[in-house]
Symmetry: C2
Subunit: 161 residues, 2 copies
């Protein structure tokens, strides 16, 4: 199994709602994570994407990106979301996907230093949501914009306190 397939399995096991959402991890290249979901289980009363589902897929993309980027750096931390904001631009009329990119294509230096020095760091991440087939290079405009702040605590530092 690839790193991404293993991580998808772990998410489905650890966060049962991601199974109900039908979340799939489609792409990870060290900078960009793409997470998709089918419309059917995520429909609302109007047959378009339920706002809670779209938010949930977006927050999964940002949280997942943080976990994967930490693992690539050989770091181990506990990642939790502190706040989230979503702006729904257009109705979600088809299967959809969320794309999260590391700011500046890498884990910020400030975040790494904070994690090393204080055992804690904050990451501000943007996620864009699109309709259709998942791709790391969308050409259409996003249907929703998510912003979230994530707090990472170094597991080892916490244990040594």
């Amino acid at each position: 199994m690839t790193q991404l397939a293993l991580f998808e399995k772990r998410i489905h096991e650890d966060i049962p709602l991601t199974r109900a959402l039908g979340v799939r991890l489609n792409h990870w290249d060290g900078r960009v994570l793409v997470v998709s979901a089918p419309l059917a289980p995520n429909q609302n009363h109007q047959g378009t994407g339920f706002g809670g589902s779209v938010y949930s897929v977006a927050v999964t993309a940002a949280w997942g990106l943080t976990e994967l980027a930490l693992a690539d750096l050989g770091l181990k931390g506990s990642v939790v979301v502190q706040n989230g904001t979503i702006d729904y631009r257009e109705p979600v009329t088809t299967d959809f996907y969320a794309l999260c990119r590391l700011p500046g294509d890498e884990i910020p230096e400030r975040f790494r230093k904070s994690l090393a020095r204080h055992g804690k760091g904050r990451l501000d991440l943007n996620v864009t949501v699109y309709l259709g087939e998942p791709t790391p290079e969308p050409t259409a405009d996003p249907v929703a914009l998510f912003h979230g702040r994530f707090v990472v605590r170094d597991v080892h530092s916490r244990l040594s306190l």
Copy 2:
């Protein structure tokens, strides 16, 4: 069946994710709606409430309040969420519930006039999330705060355009 039980049935049918969330409608008195969910299906990798689940229950409370308040006024409209923000204050360690209250305990006059004149109105709603047994009069501090903007379009006005 009571109005609230019928509405719960409708939500479960129209928005399948609310069944996966285990959403129950507990209380509606014309001003306050209480919506609860069990922790088990909403756990994250740390055994506490998944951020996407907490957001989804909160947005269901605010959307549901808008639908119920419109019905009480004899109005029929389509309600969609335009944006949402959530601030996670404390980990969700037990079953939880979301409470939404009409601002000033009633549908604002400005909203009603806008809906009557333009066939469209906006409602800004706050939701507070608490741990434990659902009640319309919580005494503890909330574990999460949600704010959302909802757009209501009068179905009849739209049809007559």
